[in-house]
C-alpha cells in the first residue's frame, strides 16, 4: 500500500475549493492548486482535477447540507481566468492503475449525484456559472447542476472532447446527462461529443447544452436572477442554524483495521476479507428536535452514517485486495428503531431530514461497492430499519437461527420499519425490497404487515428477507465455506456478476450512468487504444497521436 487516501477533510485544509456563504446563497469556487495533486507526477493545470480535488468537493457539498441549512442556492464557479474546468487530469488518468481510475470515477459520479439531488430533495439548488473553457469533466460538473449559465463572449464554451482527444468517454455522467437530463437531440449529441472545441453561446442554448448564454455585462446579474428564482422555490428554513460536522473519531490500527465510535473495520488479509461491525446506539434517541440539534454530529444516526461512509470509501480505495466485505451489527434492535423513528417522525425538521437523506446516499454507496457483500445476522445483532436495509443491499444474507450454545446475547432477529418501504430508494428508484421481490411484488406487502416485529430466522426466511438461515450446528461451517469459496473466484467476474444482479428493475439516469456509461468506460480503460503504450491516453501530451487497433469489437 503506497499512500492512504483519506476522505476526511474540512475547509481549513482545502487546497482547491473556496466556499463562502451570504444569506441564502453560497458560492463554491473551484481554484485548483496545480502543485497539490494527490500523487506525484502530474500538475493540476487549468483547474483539472484528481481524486483529492473531488474529495474536497464532496466535503463542501456535504457541509453545505448540514452546516448551512439557510443556503438555498449554490453558485458553482471558477476562480481562474478564462477557464472553468478542464476536467479530470489526463496525466493522472494515464498514470493511474486501472482500479484507481475506476474508483476515482465512481466516487466522482457519486459526488455529482449528490449535488444534483440536493435541489429536488433538499431545496439546495446548484447553479453553474461558466466563464471560460468548460471541457470534459468540467462540463460534467456543470451538467450535474440544476442550471447552467454560459458566458456569451465568443470564447467560453462547453465541450465533451474525450472521444476525439483521448479515446475514452465522458464517463462522469457526461454522455448520459446530455441525452437523459438535458435531452439533447441524439444526433446533435453525437456531433457535440465528437468535437474537440465544443459549442459556444447561443448554439449551446439552442442545442440544450446550457440554459442561458449571456454577455459578460449581464452575467452577474443573470446569475443573481437565477439564484433568486431557485431560492424562491426552496423550502429550506431561512433562520435555522447548522450543525458542525466535527472530525470523525477514528483510529487506524496496525493490522489494517479501523476503529470508529460506532463502526469497527477488521481486516483479515489472508482470507481477503473485511468485516464491518456497526454498533447500535448506546444512548436513548433524542427527546426533542432541540436535543437533536444539541447533539449535532454526535447523534447516533448521523455519526454512524458518517463513519460507515468513510469506512466504505477507505476499503474501496485503499484495500483493493479485500474481496469480501462482511457486515455485522451488535446492539439493541429497539434502540435503533427508536433513533430512526425519531428522525422519521420529525422529518419536517431540516436536520432530521438531512440525516435520513444522508443514509439514502450511504446505502447507495453500499449498493455501488464492487466487492462481494455479505451480511451476517448473528445473536446480539440489531438489523432494524435502516440497518436492515443493509441486508437487502448485500449479495447474500446469512442468519443465525435460535439460541447459540454458550452465547447469552439475544437471539438474532430482523425488525422491519417504515424505513424499509420508502425513504431509501436505490438508484433504480425502487426500494431494496421492491427490487428484491420484483417477481413477487405481493411479498413486499407481506413483509410490510410484519413491520415492527422482531422477526427471527424462521419468519425472516419465510418472508424471503434472508438468503439462508442456519442454527448453531451448521452456522460456522456454512459461513466459512461460503466466504472461502467467494474469495477464490475471479474478482473481475464477481464484480460483473454482482453489479448485474444487484440492480434489477427499471433503468434510471443513475443506473444508466453506473451500469452502462461507466461499464463501457471501464472496458475502454482496459483497451490498448486508450491505455496501451501507444494509446491516446498514454500519448496525450507527447504530441504523438494514439495508435488505434482499427477493428471494431
Amino acid at each position: 500500500m503506497s499512500k492512504r487516501i483519506d476522505f476526511q477533510t474540512d475547509p481549513s485544509k482545502y487546497r482547491h475549493w473556496k466556499v463562502s456563504t451570504d444569506g441564502e446563497v453560497a458560492t463554491l469556487t473551484m481554484d485548483v492548486d496545480p502543485s497539490a495533486g494527490l500523487f506525484e507526477g502530474y500538475e493540476l493545470k487549468l483547474n483539472s482535477y484528481d481524486l483529492g480535488v473531488d474529495i474536497e468537493l464532496a466535503d463542501a457539498v456535504q457541509r453545505l447540507r448540514f452546516e448551512h441549512p439557510e443556503v438555498k442556492a449554490v453558485v458553482m464557479q471558477s476562480g481562474k481566468d478564462r477557464v472553468f474546468c478542464a476536467g479530470a487530469n489526463i496525466r493522472m488518468l494515464a498514470g493511474a492503475a486501472h482500479a484507481h481510475k475506476v474508483n476515482f470515477c465512481k466516487f466522482t459520479n457519486e459526488t455529482r449525484n449528490t449535488f444534483e439531488a440536493a435541489g429536488a430533495e433538499s431545496g439546495q439548488y446548484y447553479i453553474c456559472a461558466v466563464k471560460g473553457a468548460c471541457a470534459g469533466g468540467g462540463y460534467e460538473l456543470a451538467l450535474a447542476c440544476d442550471h447552467i449559465i454560459l458566458a456569451d463572449d465568443a470564447s467560453s464554451s462547453v465541450a465533451l472532447p474525450e472521444v476525439p482527444l483521448l479515446a475514452v468517454l465522458p464517463g462522469t455522467g457526461g454522455l448520459t446527462r446530455v441525452t437523459d437530463k438535458r435531452k439533447v437531440r441524439r444526433d446533435l449529441a453525437d456531433v457535440f461529443c465528437a468535437m474537440e472545441e465544443g459549442v459556444r453561446g447561443k448554439k449551446a442554448v439552442d442545442w440544450r447544452l446550457v440554459d442561458d448564454a449571456v454577455p459578460n455585462s449581464k452575467f452577474d446579474e443573470t446569475v443573481a436572477a437565477r439564484v433568486s428564482e431557485y431560492a424562491a422555490k426552496s423550502q429550506r428554513p431561512a433562520d435555522a442554524k447548522g450543525i458542525e460536522l466535527t472530525p470523525l473519531k477514528r483510529t487506524f490500527n496496525d493490522d489494517g483495521g479501523v476503529t470508529y465510535s460506532t463502526v469497527e473495520v477488521e481486516v483479515d488479509r489472508a482470507k481477503r476479507r473485511a468485516t464491518i461491525t456497526i454498533n447500535g446506539p448506546a444512548d436513548a434517541a433524542p427527546a426533542s428536535v432541540e436535543a437533536l440539534h444539541a447533539e449535532g454530529a454526535e447523534t447516533w444516526m448521523l455519526r454512524c452514517a458518517r463513519e460507515l461512509d468513510d469506512a466504505i470509501l477507505h476499503l474501496r480505495l485503499n484495500e483493493l485486495e479485500l474481496g469480501v466485505v462482511v457486515f455485522r451489527t451488535q446492539g439493541d434492535p429497539e434502540q435503533v428503531v427508536a433513533h430512526e423513528r425519531f428522525l422519521l417522525d420529525n422529518r419536517s425538521n431540516w436536520l432530521a431530514k438531512e440525516i435520513l437523506l444522508y443514509w439514502k446516499r450511504v446505502l447507495k454507496r453500499v449498493d455501488m461497492t464492487s466487492r462481494s457483500l455479505v451480511a451476517l445476522v448473528e445473536p446480539g445483532s440489531c438489523f432494524s430499519g435502516v440497518l436492515a436495509e443493509i441486508l437487502f443491499a448485500v449479495d447474500r444474507t446469512y442468519m443465525a437461527e435460535g439460541d447459540f450454545e454458550g452465547d447469552n446475547r439475544h437471539v438474532a432477529s430482523i425488525t422491519l420499519t417504515e424505513a424499509n418501504f420508502g425513504p431509501f430508494p436505490m438508484a433504480n428508484d425502487l426500494t431494496r425490497l421492491e427490487t428484491r421481490f420484483l417477481g413477487e411484488p405481493e411479498r413486499v406487502g407481506a413483509a410490510r404487515e410484519r413491520a415492527g416485529e422482531a422477526l427471527e430466522a424462521f419468519d425472516a426466511n419465510e418472508l424471503g428477507l434472508v438468503t439462508f438461515a442456519y442454527d448453531d450446528i451448521d452456522w460456522e461451517d456454512e459461513v466459512r465455506i461460503f466466504l472461502e469459496e467467494r474469495a477464490s473466484f475471479s474478482p473481475d467476474a464477481l464484480t460483473g456478476m454482482e453489479a448485474n444482479l444487484r440492480f434489477a428493475g427499471p433503468e434510471t439516469m443513475e443506473t444508466r450512468i453506473f451500469g452502462r456509461l461507466t461499464a463501457w468506460q471501464n472496458w475502454i480503460f482496459q483497451r490498448p487504444n486508450a491505455v496501451g503504450e501507444d494509446g491516446a491516453l498514454r500519448r496525450y501530451g507527447t504530441g504523438v497521436r494514439g495508435e488505434y487497433d482499427l477493428r471494431r469489437v
Binding site: D152, D153, A154, S155, P164, M195, E196, E197, R200, P215, N216, S217, Y540, G541, T542, G543, V544, R545
Partner: protein
C-alpha cells in the same frame, strides 16, 4: 488561365486566388465584408477615415514588386486576399506525415487543430488595430501617423487572410468563427480578445514602437511557424503576410531608435553625462534611457508570455500533425519528426532554477521562444550603437526570460532582470527600477502631442533618416481631413 502572381480586381475583393470563379467563398466573403467595414469605421476616429493616407497596397505577390504607394482613404483601402505562389511538389515539412505531399484541402483529422490555430492567429490581427485606435491623435509627425495607419491596414488585411481560410476551408463553422473575430474586441468586458496581451491598450507611441518591435515579432515567429504548415493554403498565406510584417518591425525598431537618438542628442546638447539624471533629462522633454529600458523590459516579457507554456501538448500535437512547424524548419538539419530528440527547458528543482532536457516535441513553444529571443536581440545591438555613437554611456539589454512572467514555469515567482530569484519583498522594493510605473507612463503621456505640419517632429523623437518610398523629409504623408 488564373493569374496567380498579379492581383485580380474583378471582384470587390482584390485577390490572387481566383475568387471570381469561386462563387461559394466569394458569397461568404461578401457577406462578411459589411461587418468588417463597420468594424473599421467604428474603430478609427472619423477624421482619419476621411484623410488621404500615403499607403502601400499589395498588387502582386512577386517579391520584386509587390506593392505600390498612393494616397487612399483607409476605408477604401483594397484589403485583398493574397497567397504566396504555390511551390511545385511541396511536401509536409515535419511531423508524422513529413515528406508526404502538402495538403491542399483540410485533412479531416486535423480540422479542429487547424481551425483553432487560424482563429487564434486571426484574433490577434484586428486586436492590435483596436489597441492602437487612438494613437493617431498624438502622432509625433505625419510620417509616424502614416506608418501607424500602414500597420493598421495591413493588420486588417491579415485578418482578411485568416477569414479567407476560414471561409474557404472550414464551412459553416468557419463562417461562424469569422463572425466571432469581429465580435471579440480588445479590452472588452463582453468578449475580450483571446490572448491577454492583446487586451491591453497601447497608450502612447513609445509603447506602440515597443509593441511593433516585440509583440509583432511574436506574430512574425508564429507566422514563420505557420508558414511551415503542411496545409499549403495556410503556408502560402503566412508566407505573404511575412512580407508585410517586416515593415511593422521596421516601424518598431526605427521608432525606438529615433527616440533614443533624440534623447542622447538632447543630453549631449545640454551637457548631461549621467543617463540616470532623470529629472534633468525629462525636464528637457525627452524620454530618459532608464525609462526606455523599463519599457523594453515590460514589452519583451509580455511578448514572451505569448509563446505559452514551455512544455505544451497543443504545440507538440500541432508539430507532429504537420500543421505548424518550427522557425525555418527547412533549414534545420534533423529528422523533422523529433522522435527521440530532447530540448532544454527551465524548471524548478527544490526551489532551484535548472535546465532540464524534455522531449523536443513537447518543447516546440520553448524553441520558438528561444528563436524569438535571438531574433529580437539584433535590434538591441543597433540601438546600443546609436547610444554609443552619441557618446552617452548606457547600454540597453534584454532582461532574463524569468523576469516578470505570468505564464509558464516562471509565473508566480519573482525574479530580477538578471534572473535571480528574489523574495516578494525584495522584488517589491526594486520593481520600480525595472518596470514602468504609472508616473513613468504619465510622463511619457505628457510628451505625446500631435504634430501635423509636414516635415516636423515632436520634440522627443528624431526624424527618420530616409522617407517612406524615398519621399523627401517634408512630404505630406497624410493629407488630414479637418472636420
Amino acid at each position: 488561365m488564373l493569374d496567380l502572381i498579379n492581383v485580380s480586381y474583378d471582384t470587390q475583393i482584390p485577390n490572387n486566388v481566383g475568387l471570381s470563379s469561386d462563387k461559394r467563398v466569394l458569397k461568404a466573403l461578401e457577406r462578411w465584408h459589411p461587418g468588417y467595414i463597420n468594424w473599421w469605421n467604428d474603430l478609427i476616429p472619423r477624421d482619419f477615415q476621411e484623410s488621404l493616407v500615403y499607403l502601400r497596397t499589395a498588387v502582386s505577390v512577386d517579391p520584386k514588386g509587390w506593392a505600390k504607394f498612393d494616397y487612399v482613404k483607409m476605408p477604401e483601402y483594397r484589403w485583398g486576399i493574397l497567397l504566396a505562389p504555390q511551390v511545385e511538389d511541396r511536401t509536409i515539412p515535419c511531423g508524422e506525415h513529413a515528406g508526404q505531399p502538402a495538403w491542399q484541402e483540410v485533412p479531416g483529422e486535423y480540422r479542429n487543430m487547424l481551425k483553432r490555430l487560424i482563429v487564434i492567429q486571426g484574433d490577434t490581427e484586428p486586436a492590435s488595430v483596436e489597441q492602437q485606435r487612438f494613437l493617431a491623435l498624438s502622432a509625433p509627425s505625419l510620417y509616424d501617423m502614416r506608418n501607424l495607419f500602414q500597420v493598421n491596414v495591413e493588420e486588417g488585411r491579415h485578418l482578411w487572410a485568416m477569414v479567407y481560410l476560414l471561409h474557404k476551408y472550414f464551412g459553416a463553422d468557419g463562417r461562424e468563427e469569422a463572425d466571432d473575430l469581429l465580435r471579440r474586441s480588445s479590452g472588452s468586458e463582453e468578449s475580450p480578445r483571446m490572448l491577454g496581451a492583446f487586451n491591453e491598450e497601447t497608450p502612447d507611441w513609445l509603447s506602440f514602437f515597443m509593441f511593433t518591435y516585440f509583440t509583432d515579432r511574436d506574430g512574425k515567429m508564429q507566422l514563420e511557424a505557420l508558414a511551415q504548415s503542411g496545409f499549403d493554403p495556410l503556408s502560402r498565406t503566412c508566407r505573404f503576410m511575412l512580407t508585410e510584417e517586416a515593415h511593422h518591425m521596421f516601424v518598431g525598431e526605427t521608432g525606438v531608435g529615433r527616440t533614443i537618438q533624440r534623447t542622447c542628442e538632447v543630453m549631449k546638447e545640454n551637457g548631461i553625462e549621467d543617463p540616470y539624471d532623470i529629472d534633468r533629462i525629462r525636464a528637457l522633454g525627452v524620454i530618459d534611457l532608464p525609462t526606455i529600458q523599463k519599457k523594453l523590459n515590460l514589452h519583451y516579457t509580455l511578448s514572451l508570455d505569448l509563446f505559452g507554456q514551455e512544455v505544451s501538448t497543443n504545440a507538440a500535437n500541432a508539430f507532429n500533425a504537420g500543421v505548424k512547424g518550427r522557425f525555418h524548419e527547412h533549414k534545420i538539419d534533423d529528422d523533422h519528426q523529433l522522435k527521440d530528440a530532447t530540448y532544454p527547458v527551465w524548471d524548478f528543482d527544490n526551489g532551484q532554477l535548472v535546465q532540464k532536457d524534455v522531449p523536443a516535441l513537447t518543447a516546440i513553444n520553448m524553441r520558438l521562444r528561444d528563436d524569438y529571443t535571438k531574433d529580437a536581440t539584433g535590434g538591441i545591438g543597433r540601438w546600443n550603437k546609436i547610444i554609443e555613437k552619441t557618446g552617452v554611456n548606457f547600454q540597453l539589454k534584454l532582461p532574463h526570460e524569468s523576469f516578470n512572467r505570468k505564464i509558464g514555469v516562471f509565473a508566480d515567482k519573482t525574479f530580477d532582470p538578471d534572473g535571480n530569484l528574489l523574495s516578494g519583498a525584495e522584488y517589491d522594493a526594486k520593481v520600480g527600477e525595472w518596470l514602468p510605473s504609472h508616473a513613468d507612463g504619465d510622463f511619457i503621456q505628457s510628451l505625446m502631442v500631435q504634430v501635423t505640419e509636414p516635415g516636423k517632429f515632436a520634440g522627443w523623437i528624431a526624424p527618420p533618416r530616409v522617407g517612406i518610398d524615398n519621399k523627401p523629409g517634408d512630404f505630406e504623408y497624410v493629407q488630414l481631413h479637418m472636420a
